[in-house]
Each structure stands twice: as structure tokens, then as C-alpha cells.
């Protein structure tokens, strides 16, 4: 049964290889090959899932050791996989949502002549992501980690002829690299202190404790912070969040799969997976929670101001992941809920993005919500699915988002102490803002009057419902986003499922669950109400009003990019330019200078050779005089 694990990865990897090396002859069928293999991977996942369910909860860890990868003395890295409840959850999410999005893309990318490569990249992403969650040691995880980075780079920049896309792709990769630095340093620290970076011996599991138990808190805090840096990069958490907005340059299915459902949640996976480390490093945990809280507000605020539907959703993604990170930072209280929210978010956010894609599909790839309006009549299925996703994300009671997010807020309060209150407060506030901006999106897109005009060359968009191949995935995801939360909480099955890995702890909430739930719902209602008041009652202006300071700031991602540009980009340019100068004038100059000076000396000495016999004789005479003098001197001394 373990041997299936490799197949999980092999299937999409094979797809990627075939599609990328296959050449033009595969253009016709490429998309189907990709989709098929992705579904195959999903099938394997399901089989393995069934197998795990059949096992006793403590025995639910399968490992597969393929071969020894790098081996230098004590440095030992294997290509080995570990499938436990945590990674299983991810496998299902990734392959499931992934497959649906493959299917969706078949329709969405229908008219793109480079379709084959697109599916190749998607498969590549699946493979890398699966490697990430199945790896049995941090170094192999690192491979997947950068692999998904590469895939996202390729997919964000898929429409390379657009400079904006190429730039966005580069930016994403670079920002991620900064995070990766954290991960690699973390691995080095592990090797330095523990001599290993494999999950088993390091983190423990199957009963016996890992080495981290013997390490001092300071060490673990250092490692934890480095891991957090990595997580920030991949999961677009403050301060490394700037790339996610631009990443929306990629085709919408990409945004749905990579930048909403799966890849960006890798950071959460990393933190939860490293729970053993964080549990023993409270300071690190605190930082994690702070990052999460800040990001969830940051994202939410940004989301409120964007008129670009995808950017708005991106903001929301950022903020939702903020929730997860916050939860993950809470330790055993929150791990389970972080993952739960991650899964549900995977459903509804993917659904929302696909909906947005469907809208764009119908609107000639128009993304400005101010040019939408009243679309519910034109694309009902999209409207319904999008709506369900909307209800889910704002946490409408009974839908998935409600359960997961509510639990996180509870956990935040349950952290106890002042930080408990602060974090909980942030989470509540975030819930309200979420409700606001999502409602705003909903209203601007599907309600009100139509606001689109013919573009400069006169062809007016004719909004229409998308083909089945696109709508079916949306429907499935919508169902998921409705039902998932309820299923997970059915006798808190999810908690029991994950507990063996992450552990679970109820903490001691200062308020009763009911109160918090009430508060959450209230916040949600308030948010919705405000949004309705602003966008539902009066018509939406087709061009964005100047807006308040906060709005303007939010539109520019709270000036975070401008900061990067001025400090990093400009500064870097100056630095490199001056260094080029230094290299040419100084480092090179010294050498050339020496050469030149020798030449000059030569020129001067050359003049002694003036062609006159008598001066030659003089030099000889002087020479012999010196010779004699020196000899005598030698004797004298």
C-alpha cells in the first residue's frame, strides 16, 4: 500500500514530462492527458485514504523510502515519503481541487494555443505540491517548496507577452526566495544542532518523542522563526505578502488552484507540521500569531478597496490565510482548526475564483468590477455557486466557513491572557471586514445595473454562462463549501482525525462558545449591512471615486509595494551600478595602473639610452666606481 504514495506524485510528474517534452503533436489532446493524470492521482489519494481509515488511529502513518538522495558523512537526506493524517488531508485537497480545476481549465483555456504547456505546468505544480506535503524530511520538503514556487512562477507568467505578467512572476519568485532563505537556514540549524532534519527522529511521532524535546528553547525559537519566515514567503503573510496581488496576472484557474486553494497554504502546513518545534518555543508562536493577526487585517483592508475582482479575492485569500496562521500560532488549541479552515477555504475560495473566472470568461476578460453589474441574470449558475461560496466565506451560519472561522476565533480567545483578547478581537474585526468586502464584491458583480460599455474598438461584451466543463467544477466546489464544515464538525470527526498528529487542546476560553459565535455572527451582519448600505442602495460609480485616505492606501496595498520599490529596487539598482563602476575603475584600475606605471618607468629609463658613446662610457665608469666602492664597503663592514 505504501508504494502507492510514490504514484501519487509520479502520475502528475509523468504528465508534466510528457506534456512539456511532447512537442506540438500533443497539442490536441494535451489538456485531457493532464486532467486524466490529475484525476488518477486523486484516485490513488482516495484509495490511500480508505486504507488509512481502515487502520487504527495511532497506526495511520505510512512511510515509503525510495532511495538515499544526498549522503555525505553525517549529512543524510533520503527521498522518502510520509503519509499521515495531516498529509492525507492535503493530498485529498490538492488532488481533488486540483483535478476539478484541471477540468475547468479545459474550458477556460480552450482558445489558448499554448494550452498544452499550461496543463504541463499545472501537472508540474501538482507533483511539486504533493512532494511538499508527502516529504519525510525538511530538505525534500524544500524541493517541493521551491518546486511549487517554480510552477507558480511559470503559471503567473504564463501570458509572457504581457510585461506585467512577466514582472509579476519574477516578483513572486523573488519574494518567495527570501522566504526560502529562511527555510534553508532553518534546515542548516537543524543539522547543526540535531544532525538531522528528518521528521521522524526530529519531531517524533508514533509515540516516541523527537530530539526537539532535548533542545533548549532558544534554539527552537530560532528554528521556529526561520520556518515562519519561509511560511510568510509562501503564504503571502506580512511582510512578504506583496507578491500575491500581482500574482493575479496569471490565468484565473491558476489563481484558484495555486494562489487560493493550495500553494499559499503551504506555509500553514509547514507550521503545523513543525508543531513539535513551535510548541516548545512560545516566543516563536507569539510571533506567528501576531503575523497572522496583522495579515488577516491587512488582507481584509486591501480587499475592501480593490476594484479588480481577482485582486479583491486575493486580498481576501491573504486575510483568510492570516486566520489559519493565527490559528497555527496558537499551538495545539489551533492546529486542527487551522487545517480545517484551510480545507474549507480551499473549497469556497477556489469556487469563488472559478466563479470570477467564469465571469471574466463571459466579459472578455474584464476584471474591473465597476464595469460589471447585474450579471445574475446572464450567468445564473455562476451566480449561485459564487453566492454559496460568498456565504461560506463570510461565515454564514451552517456553511463551512462559519464552522472553521468561528472555531479559530474561539481558539484565539482561548489562548487566554491579554494576547488572547487582542487576537480574538482582531479575528472578530476581520470577520466583519470580510463580510463587508465580500458583500461588496457580490453586489458590484451580480446586482445593480449593467455598467459595461463597448471598448475602444466597439465590441461590447455579451455576458453568457460558461460551458458545462467549467460550471460542473464550480458546482462541485460550491457543494463542498456548503457541506464541508458541517461534515467536519459531525462529532468533531476532523479533530479526531488529526489529533494523533497535531494533538488537540481545548484551552480555556474566557467566554462561552455561544457568546463568541453570537459575536461572530453579529460582526458578519454588521459588515454585510454596511456594504449593502454603500453598494446595494445607491448605484456604483463606473469610475472609482477618490475615496478616503485609507481607501487610497488600501488600493496601493497600504504603500507596501512603494516602500519595496524605493528601498529595495532603487537601492539595489544604485548599489549594483556603483559596484559595476568600482569593479571597472578600482579593482581593474589597480592592475592596469600598475601596468601603466611600469610602462612609464620604462619610458623614462629608456631615455638614458641616448645614443651617445660618451654617456655610455660614463655609465660604465660610474658602474665600475660603484662596483669598487661596494666591494670595499663590503670589506669595511
Amino acid at each position: 500500500m505504501e508504494n502507492l504514495i510514490a504514484l501519487l506524485i509520479a502520475a502528475p510528474l509523468l504528465g508534466a514530462a510528457v506534456l512539456l517534452c511532447g512537442g506540438r503533436r500533443l497539442d490536441a489532446v494535451g489538456q485531457w492527458i493532464g486532467t486524466l493524470l490529475s484525476f488518477a492521482s486523486f484516485a490513488f489519494g482516495v484509495v490511500l485514504f480508505a486504507d488509512l481509515l481502515g487502520k487504527d488511529p495511532e497506526q495511520r502513518t505510512l512511510t515509503q523510502h525510495l532511495f538515499s538522495w544526498i549522503q555525505v558523512e553525517s549529512f543524510q537526506a533520503d527521498v522518502a515519503f510520509r503519509l499521515d493524517q495531516l498529509s492525507m488531508t492535503f493530498v485529498l485537497l490538492i488532488t481533488g481541487v486540483g483535478s476539478l480545476i484541471h477540468l475547468y481549465s479545459v474550458g477556460y483555456m480552450e482558445h489558448d494555443e499554448r494550452r498544452r504547456r499550461f496543463f504541463g505546468y499545472l501537472n508540474l505544480f501538482l507533483a511539486a505540491m504533493l512532494l511538499l506535503v508527502l516529504a519525510d524530511n525538511y530538505l525534500l520538503l524544500y524541493v517541493g517548496w521551491e518546486g511549487v514556487g517554480l510552477a507558480s512562477y511559470l503559471l503567473i507568467g504564463f501570458w509572457q507577452h504581457k510585461p506585467s505578467a512577466a514582472t509579476a512572476a519574477k516578483k513572486a519568485f523573488l519574494v518567495n526566495r527570501v522566504g526560502d532563505m529562511g527555510l534553508s537556514i532553518a534546515i542548516m540549524l537543524m543539522f547543526l544542532w540535531f544532525g538531522t532534519f528528518a521528521f521522524g527522529p526530529l519531531l517524533g511521532g508514533e509515540g516516541e518523542p523527537g530530539m526537539v524535546g532535548d533542545a533548549s528553547e532558544g534554539k527552537l525559537t530560532a528554528i521556529g522563526l526561520m520556518l515562519l519566515l519561509a511560511a510568510c514567503g509562501k503564504s503571502a503573510q506580512v511582510p512578504l505578502q506583496s507578491w500575491l496581488g500581482d500574482a493575479m496576472e496569471g490565468p484565473t484557474p491558476v489563481s484558484a488552484l495555486i494562489h487560493a486553494a493550495t500553494m499559499v497554504t503551504a506555509g500553514v502546513y509547514l507550521i503545523v507540521r513543525s508543531g513539535a518545534i513551535f510548541n516548545a518555543a512560545p516566543d516563536a508562536q507569539l510571533v506567528v500569531t501576531i503575523v497572522g493577526a496583522v495579515t488577516l487585517l491587512f488582507g481584509a483592508i486591501v480587499g475592501c478597496a480593490k476594484d479588480d475582482i481577482k485582486k479583491a479575492l486575493a486580498g481576501s485569500t491573504m486575510s483568510q490565510i492570516g486566520y489559519m496562521v493565527l490559528a497555527a500560532g496558537l499551538g495545539p488549541i489551533g492546529y486542527v482548526f487551522a487545517i480545517m479552515h484551510l480545507v474549507t477555504h480551499g473549497f469556497f475560495k477556489a469556487g469563488l475564483f472559478l466563479g470570477a473566472g467564469s465571469v471574466m470568461h463571459g466579459m472578455n476578460d474584464e476584471v474591473d468590477m465597476r464595469k460589471y453589474g447585474g450579471l445574475r441574470k446572464y450567468m445564473p449558475v455562476t451566480f449561485v455557486t459564487f453566492g454559496l461560496g460568498y456565504l461560506a466565506i463570510i461565515g454564514f451560519p451552517g456553511l463551512s466557513g462559519f464552522f472553521s472561522k468561528d472555531k479559530i476565533i474561539e481558539a484565539a480567545f482561548a489562548k487566554g491572557g491579554t494576547e488572547g483578547w487582542i487576537l480574538g478581537g482582531c479575528a472578530l474585526l476581520g470577520a466583519a471586514i470580510t463580510a463587508f468586502y465580500m458583500t461588496r464584491v457580490m453586489l458590484m458583480t451580480f446586482f445593480g445595473e449593467k455598467r459595461w460599455q463597448p471598448d475602444e474598438n466597439g465590441n461590447e461584451p455579451h455576458p453568457h454562462e460558461s460551458p458545462k466543463v467549467m460550471t460542473i467544477p464550480m458546482i462541485v466546489l460550491a457543494v463542498g463549501s456548503v457541506a464541508a464544515g458541517f461534515l467536519f464538525n459531525w462529532q468533531s470527526s476532523f479533530i479526531h482525525w488529526l489529533e494523533p498528529i497535531t494533538g488537540h487542546d481545548h484551552g480555556h476560553a474566557p467566554l462561552s462558545a455561544g457568546v463568541i459565535t453570537g459575536a461572530t455572527v453579529a460582526c458578519m451582519v454588521i459588515g454585510v449591512a454596511i456594504a449593502y448600505g454603500q453598494y446595494g442602495r445607491r448605484p456604483v460609480p463606473a469610475v472609482a471615486p477618490r475615496g478616503s485616505v485609507l481607501t487610497r492606501a488600501a488600493r496601493r496595498d497600504l504603500y507596501q509595494d512603494d516602500f519595496n520599490h524605493v528601498v529595495l529596487v532603487r537601492g539595489g539598482e544604485h548599489l549594483t551600478r556603483s559596484l559595476v563602476y568600482v569593479d571597472h575603475t578600482l579593482v581593474d584600475g589597480v592592475v592596469n595602473g600598475t601596468a601603466a606605471s611600469v610602462g612609464g618607468l620604462s619610458g623614462r629609463m629608456r631615455r638614458l639610452q641616448n645614443g651617445f658613446v660618451r654617456s655610455y662610457a660614463v655609465s660604465m665608469f660610474g658602474g665600475v666606481a660603484i662596483l669598487i666602492a661596494a666591494t670595499l664597503l663590503m670589506r669595511a663592514v
Binding site: L20, F67, S68, W69, I70, Q71, V72, E73, S74, F75, V79, L139, Y142, V143, W145, E146, G147, L150, Y153, G157, Q160, H161, P163, A165, A166, T167, K170, F173, L174, R177, V178, D180, M181, S184, I185, I187, M188, F191, L192, W193, F194, G195, T196, M211, D214, A215, K219, G572, L575, T576, R577, L579, V580, D583, V587, D588, V590, V591, A595
Partner: protein
């Protein structure tokens, strides 16, 4: 006595060089094929060496030893350890690709010129370089090594100066002056380094009385030959200087961008992927074995220089307008990593460094050769002259990207393994340096992606709109390299197995042990 395999490996290309040079002017193509066949034959021999080499056997294997210049205590002593084997294999592997890639680089400008001989010269010189590089990897006699270490400058010099890149922003005239400047700079830098080494070599003889690496190392080990501290340090510096010029290490690096910029892409690969490796190899083999104490004494300074090379090279790569110079500065950064790994004095660092030499050879070859194909199409080295190539020549762009990703050492590709090993190896002993060096990976991503974005993506420039995609010959060159990059990225074991024992030997030469993990120790 048994068949002198090592000698054969070095002599075959040498003979091939002479034969190629002797091919009459009219049979240009014949000369090319001859050179290619010879290089393939050499590859076969090198593979035989690889097979015959027993990782768990003696330190030096397939040894040959004949008296040569008894007067100077010089013997013709050959022998390979794991490190040498790996690098010989790399050299023999790359040369055929270099020849194939340079297939038309030395063709006459106007077709059908009868008395055109440079073509023969070009390929003959490449083979000559191969022969000399291989023998300097094999030599276990300091003098023998030195002779070829120096002599290989001459063919390199003519390759750089005689067959420059015809693509030049200011036309052929400027190109030729630039070229001879680069060639002279290359030669003088390395000659000065070599001469300073000569003084040290003589000094070594005065101290040790012979040149046999094994004998001296042994004598150093069992204390029968003890050098005064200062003597050892001076000798070490003499050797190291030459190797640092060759490697090149900041601030002795400025010849490399000129040379790589002006030379044709295959020759540039020859420089950075093959010839320069002799420098880093020699640090590992000669500096550490002959002068262990001095090596340890100099380690901090060298590590700092290596660190500067890493960051400095990367930053300058970002600032380049000429893509070949960019790759050159990238190489400088990579050599920084290699040297850092060598002098970190840990198993991971040194194995990583050796692995790095091999991987860097392959990845730079891939990137540089594709860049060469690109340049040969457009006739310009300036990054600004390109744009949107990806649209018209997707395969070229794809290979270019893979080469680039290898250069930024993406996990899954070969360079990652070596780079991470070097970083870990350094980090375990010098955490701060290790962390600063890690910034290199971000900068690497920066210059590679900027290069790719500016050349390959964006709207198609009119000048490149008619650009043909990779031809079959070019694919034959690039595809195997890429395959190799992926294979070694996933399964580096074949090389590490060979290299590790040799590295352990070196570690014991310098009396260094890997630092033990603290928590382990605590347990």
C-alpha cells in the same frame, strides 16, 4: 606493467590536436569530425577510468610513475583520487559538446576561401587544452602539475584572442581590439599567478627535496618533514595566489568577464567550466595536502574573500548589460561558493565543493551555450537587444530557462545539491558566514530571472521576430546537458560515492573533524 590508462586519456586528445591541426585547409569539415571523434574517444577512456576506479580502494589509483627530470627531483607521476576522477569525467564529457557547439564558430567569414586554416586550429587548440587539463588533474607530482597548469594558458590564449565572438556592438574592428585585450589580460593575470607559484614551487623543492605529492604529504603527516611556520605560510600563499587567480577569487577576478565576454560561447564554457576548475581542484589537492597548517591559518581570510566573491559577483551580474559578462560574474559568485566549501574544512563543504565544480561545469555549459546560440542568431550580446524570444523560439527559451534555473540552483536540479552541501558545510563551522552566503541564492534568482525576463518575455522585438528555434545540432548539445542536470539533481549518489572517501582523506590531512551536533552530543 599494466596499460597506462591515465596517460592514454591525456595523450589521445594531444595526438588528436596534432592530427586535427595537420588536416589540409580544404578538408575543414573532416577536421571537425576528427576532433569530435577524438573527444568522444577521450570520453570513452575517461569513463573507463571512472569504472576502473574503486571508491574504497587506495587513495591514488591507476598510478603511473616514471623518472623524468631526476636533476630537479621531478617524476612523471600520475594518479587519481575520487575528486580527480570526477573532474576528469566532467572535462571529457564537456569537450564534445563544446566542439559540437562551436561547429561553425571558426568557419571562414566569406565562404569558399581556400587557404583558411583557423578552423583546424580552433579544434586542435580545444583538444590541446583538454589534454593539458586532464593531465593536470592526474598529476601527483607538483612540478608536472605546474608545467601543464602553466602551459595550458597558451592554447587558451589563442582560443580567446584568435576566435573571438563576432557579435560586437561596435563592429569587427572594436571586437578584435577588445578581444586581444581580453586575451592578453587573461594571459598576464594567469602568468603572473603562475610565476609567483613558480617561486613557491622552487621553495617547496628547497624545503622538501622532491616534488612527489604523496611523498611530501606523507612526510608532512608523519613529521619527518616539518616546515617553519613562516616558510609554510609563504609557500602556501605562493600556491594559493596562482589558484585564486585561476579560480578566480575576488579581487583577482577581473580577467574572467573580459575573457568570457570576448570569447565565443564554447570557449567561454571551456574557460569557466573546465580550465578554471583546475584552480579550485588544485586548492583542494595541493594547498590543503601540502600546507595543512598554513591552510587553516589562512582560512578566515579566504572565507571572507570567498564570501565577497559570492555577493559581489552576484551583484555585478545583476548590473550587467552584456549577457555573457553576466554569466561570467555569476560564475565568479559560484567560484566563491566552491572556495568557501573547500576552506570550510568540513566533509559536507568539501564534498559539496567538488560536486559543485562538476555541477557548475554542466549548468554553466548549458546556460552559456544556449546564450551562444541566441547571440549567434541576433548578432548581439546586449540583453537590451532581445525581447519576446520565448514567443518565436520556445524551445530555445525553455532550455535557456532550465539553464538559468540550474544556475540559481533550483532544488531538483544538480547545482542545488552541491550548493546546499557547501552552505551546510560552511554553516556548521562558521554560522555567520553561512547565513550571509545564503543571501547569494536570492541574488542568483534576481540576475537569472531578470536576464530571462528581459530577453525571453515581453512583446516580440522586430529584430528577433524571424529568429529560428534550436536546430538539431544545438538540441543534441543542450538536451544531454539538461538531462544530466536533472539526473544529478535527483540522484547525485554516483558522484558523492566517489568523492566522499577522497574528501575524508583530505580532512584527515588537515587534521579536521566535522563538528558534532550539540543535542546529539548532549544526549
Amino acid at each position: 606493467m599494466s596499460f597506462p590508462l591515465l596517460t592514454a586519456t591525456a595523450v589521445l586528445p594531444a595526438i588528436g590536436a596534432i592530427a586535427t591541426a595537420a588536416v589540409p585547409a580544404a578538408q575543414r569539415t573532416a577536421a571537425k569530425w576528427l576532433a569530435l571523434l577524438v573527444s568522444l574517444g577521450t570520453l570513452a577512456l575517461a569513463i573507463t577510468v571512472l569504472v576502473r576506479f574503486d571508491p574504497d580502494g587506495d587513495r591514488y589509483q591507476l598510478t603511473e610513475s616514471h623518472s623524468w627530470i631526476a636533476e630537479f627531483g621531478v617524476r612523471y607521476e600520475l594518479g587519481v583520487d575520487g575528486i580527480a576522477v570526477a573532474l576528469i569525467a566532467l572535462t571529457a564529457l564537456l569537450i564534445p559538446f563544446i566542439i559540437l557547439a562551436g561547429w561553425h564558430d571558426a568557419d571562414p567569414l566569406e565562404t569558399g576561401s581556400k587557404r583558411w586554416r583557423p578552423t583546424q586550429g580552433f579544434f586542435a587548440l580545444i583538444l590541446a587544452v583538454e589534454a593539458m587539463v586532464i593531465i593536470s588533474f592526474e598529476a601527483t607530482d607538483v612540478f608536472l602539475f605546474y608545467i601543464f597548469f602553466e602551459a595550458m594558458l597558451i592554447p587558451m590564449y589563442f582560443l580567446i584572442g584568435g576566435f573571438g565572438d563576432r557579435a560586437h556592438e561596435h563592429g569587427e574592428k572594436a571586437a578584435s581590439t577588445q578581444r586581444s585585450y581580453a586575451a592578453v589580460k587573461f594571459l598576464l593575470y594567469n602568468l603572473v599567478g603562475g610565476l609567483i607559484m613558480l617561486a613557491a614551487v622552487i621553495g617547496l623543492y628547497v624545503v622538501a627535496g622532491n616534488f612527489s605529492l604523496q611523498a611530501i604529504a606523507e612526510a608532512r603527516a608523519n613529521g619527518t618533514l616539518d616546515m617553519a611556520t613562516n616558510t609554510e605560510r609563504w609557500l602556501f600563499l605562493g600556491f594559493f595566489f596562482a589558484f585564486a587567480v585561476k579560480a578566480p577569487l575576488w579581487p583577482l577576478h577581473t580577467w574572467l568577464p573580459n575573457a568570457m565576454g570576448e570569447a565565443t560561447a564554447p570557449v567561454a564554457v571551456l574557460i569557466t567550466a573546465v580550465v578554471d576548475k583546475v584552480g579550485t581542484f588544485a586548492m583542494l589537492r595541493f594547498c590543503l595536502q601540502l600546507f595543512p597548517e598554513a591552510s587553516k591559518w589562512a582560512t578566515p581570510a579566504i572565507l571572507v574573500l570567498a564570501l565577497i566573491s559570492i555577493v559581489y559577483g552576484a551583484l555585478l551580474a545583476v548590473g550587467q548589460r552584456d549577457m555573457k559578462r553576466l554569466i561570467a560574474y555569476a560564475s565568479i559568485s559560484h567560484f566563491g561558493f566552491i572556495i568557501m566549501g573547500i576552506f570550510a574544512m568540513t566533509s559536507q563543504g568539501q564534498s559539496g565543493a567538488t560536486l559543485y565544480m562538476v555541477n557548475h561545469g554542466i549548468s554553466t555549459a548549458a546556460l552559456m551555450l544556449v546564450a551562444g546560440f541566441l547571440i549567434s542568431r541576433r548578432g548581439s550580446r546586449l540583453i537590451a537587444d532581445y525581447g519576446g524570444v520565448q514567443k518565436v523560439a520556445p524551445v530555445l527559451a525553455g532550455t535557456f530557462l532550465i539553464g538559468g534555473l540550474a544556475t540559481l540552483s533550483l532544488p531538483g536540479l544538480a547545482p542545488f545539491v552541491s550548493e546546499f552541501l557547501v552552505l551546510v558545510g560552511t554553516f556548521t563551522r562558521y554560522p555567520v558566514i553561512g547565513i550571509i552566503a545564503t543571501f547569494g541564492i536570492v541574488l542568483a534568482a534576481l540576475y537569472v530571472l531578470v536576464l530571462y525576463q528581459r530577453t525571453m518575455t515581453g512583446p516580440v522585438k522586430p529584430e528577433v521576430s524571424a529568429m529560428p528555434d534550436l536546430r538539431v545540432r544545438e538540441l543534441v548539445v543542450v538536451a544531454p546537458l539538461i538531462a544530466l542536470l536533472i539526473f544529478l539533481g535527483v540522484y547525485p549518489k554516483p558522484i558523492t560515492d566517489i568523492v566522499n572517501p577522497a574528501v575524508q582523506q583530505t580532512m584527515s590531512d588537515v587534521h579536521k573533524k566535522d563538528p558534532q551536533p550539540e543535542v546529539e552530543a548532549a544526549k
